[in-house]
Symmetry: C2
Subunit: 404 residues, 2 copies
Amino acid sequence: MRPVHAQNVRVATRGTTREINRGIALNLIRTNQPISRADLARLMGTRRGAVSLLVNELIQDEAVFEGATGEAKRGRKPTFLYIDSRKRCVVAVDIRPTRTFIMVTDLMGQQLATVTSFPTERDPKKFVLDLVRRIKAILVEHKDLGRCQGIGVVVPGMVESAEGRVLLAPNLGWKDVLLRGPIAAAMKIPVQIENSGKACALAQLWASRDAAAPSNFAYVTVSDGVGVGVVMGNQLVRGQHNIAGEFGHIPLNVDGPRCGCGATGCWEAYVSNLATLSRYFGRDLRDRPLSADVATLTVDDLIARARGGDGKALAALLSTGRYLGLGLGSVVNAIDPSHVYIGGEITAAWDLIEATVRSALAERALTPPAGATPITVVPPEQYPRLRGAAALVAAPSFAERVVA
Amino acid sequence: MRPVHAQNVRVATRGTTREINRGIALNLIRTNQPISRADLARLMGTRRGAVSLLVNELIQDEAVFEGATGEAKRGRKPTFLYIDSRKRCVVAVDIRPTRTFIMVTDLMGQQLATVTSFPTERDPKKFVLDLVRRIKAILVEHKDLGRCQGIGVVVPGMVESAEGRVLLAPNLGWKDVLLRGPIAAAMKIPVQIENSGKACALAQLWASRDAAAPSNFAYVTVSDGVGVGVVMGNQLVRGQHNIAGEFGHIPLNVDGPRCGCGATGCWEAYVSNLATLSRYFGRDLRDRPLSADVATLTVDDLIARARGGDGKALAALLSTGRYLGLGLGSVVNAIDPSHVYIGGEITAAWDLIEATVRSALAERALTPPAGATPITVVPPEQYPRLRGAAALVAAPSFAERVVA
DNA sequence: CGCATTTGTCTTTACCGAGGACAATATGCC
DNA sequence: GGCATATTGTCCTCGGTAAAGACAAATGCG
């Protein structure tokens, strides 16, 4: 139920029907490829004749191509249709406090080359120069991947979309950094910047291949910070300033520890990697200088120690698990998702902490079904952030027309 | 950006263009009435001929009627079009812990008769009998209002939409109460049940008459409990189980006071009317038995005492104001609304607490613009809950067709 | 009264899906 | 191999719709 306003309206014209169906056909090919015209017609509930015209238009535009003929039990063999991602690629960039990662994918988000990484230069100007140089090198090296359609960049912080500006990324030490312009100018390719949580949610949304996939979900990334991407009604929630989903800075306790954002007792201050490690060492690691052993220990190491019998390590993880569950309670109560995805280093210890997380969530959820909201862990090997960065570029070309 | 799935798809047919434009025309008439066909054509950016056909169809269906001819500087005078709400009415019901309110409106949500109220019967079965009897009496008394199109009921609690079941309304003492079926069966009229916060948000959404009105906002009702209705992209956010927006049970402090929902430190436990009064009296009013003076004091009385110079009363209100602002910080961080509406008894003291609320909000908001999110107070005299109940019935008939 | 202006209707044209016919292609049974 | 059957993809006609513009009706002004 959505009211229509004068300035919003996009009146349907003679071509609107075609436009809508073209988008539907393209997306059904994307999610069901390989698929024949006849099957497409069945999925769409329309005539083969109509579908043929749509498909031929898509082929003309090089959005789709005809591949091999498929097999059929009886009758004429079908011609399979595929999204045409030949000779095109997308560069995905994941900026993280210590290292930055680059991956090349096709328009479907499939990885085309090995992931490379380099230390993150903290000075924004130097960083951009460094990044551009490395992307150019990769594209020259992989000329076979075709023309680069765009660059998607994810950042652990708040991003303003219109200008591609990083408003605030405490863990990077960036504030009000204009990223898109410089990169786009140097590369002469469209560039998209987005918060990592939102990008992961977008990738998850676009990875779904059937209607059974959740259409209301939250994607929670737990790393140096906590980012949450929210999808409602198959749409990424951005909010007024593109900073919706900052559940990481909703309090567990307003009288709690100070957080990098300036407030106190944020969820992030309880469950970030630094918070987990701080609990293990029994002191706040933000207080510098760090001793050498402390500085190099990672959450992965901590998990290894916990598995190796280190009781203190396990206790720190379980404590994080409990806070993670309590915060998930806030997410569930606020948006009532059908599913929650969790990414980040802590997921490697999921078998150790799941029960704790679940019971803490159930404590705060308002109804038993909400407390039992399914949780899926996304392992780092799937590169959720980089897939999200790729989706920033690839997804819009499949975007549905918004009516009215 | 929204992917299309096989089972979701609604392929555009020959009639889809018309269907879309019919909806647009109907909504433009609603938000701009009185309006002529020619003006409508200009708003829609289409030809008068096309609009005429649409409008005549709407007139045929009795959705729109031709009223008086308007004035024009030169040329032929236009025929004004209006939404046809003649001989139709909607019954709005607001169930609250102590009293239940009934109002009769037209399809535009305009009040048609005086608001009546009666004590809320706590036993659901008896309540339904009582309510049905009273609604029937009102409809008999006001035969001139025309045929009742439906009954909208708002409840301070979580509502399951499919069956019209109240899942949990702690302040009413209701749990898993089937409301819609019994009322609909007795009245033989469609009945809609909804959470009061969601309904208020819906009414606010539908009351907007131009595109400048916020399309992302939160409506916070602070009374016996705290309800929040969230609108994103001109659409009410319901979530998977229709319990999205329960910010009232997001913690300010997980180690805080016990809340009616079973958890601890919920926002509601800090800012509900009972919490405010408890602070004033210096003890938890949920602990019975109540002494006579305590039981009858309302928040309105407390505000009067504060204005009369009662320092303790003012302190209690300011304390509530601070917690209100901290909780609003969570709302702002989670959904980044362009606007926040606040309703409830506490709004009568807005001039006393606004500064406190705003500074607490700014403390927790992540960016200065987010901290400065506009807040509008909706006074009780506008009957926001009853307008929301009416919108439950009236809004769907103007609902936009959802494509794909 | 004649002219300009505006409204609302009507006619023609073009676009597109619905429906169905049809050729091409493949399998299985005789 | 020949024939019936099934399936795919194309083609043609029909009906619904907006686009474009002509036109009559209504109104004010000189």
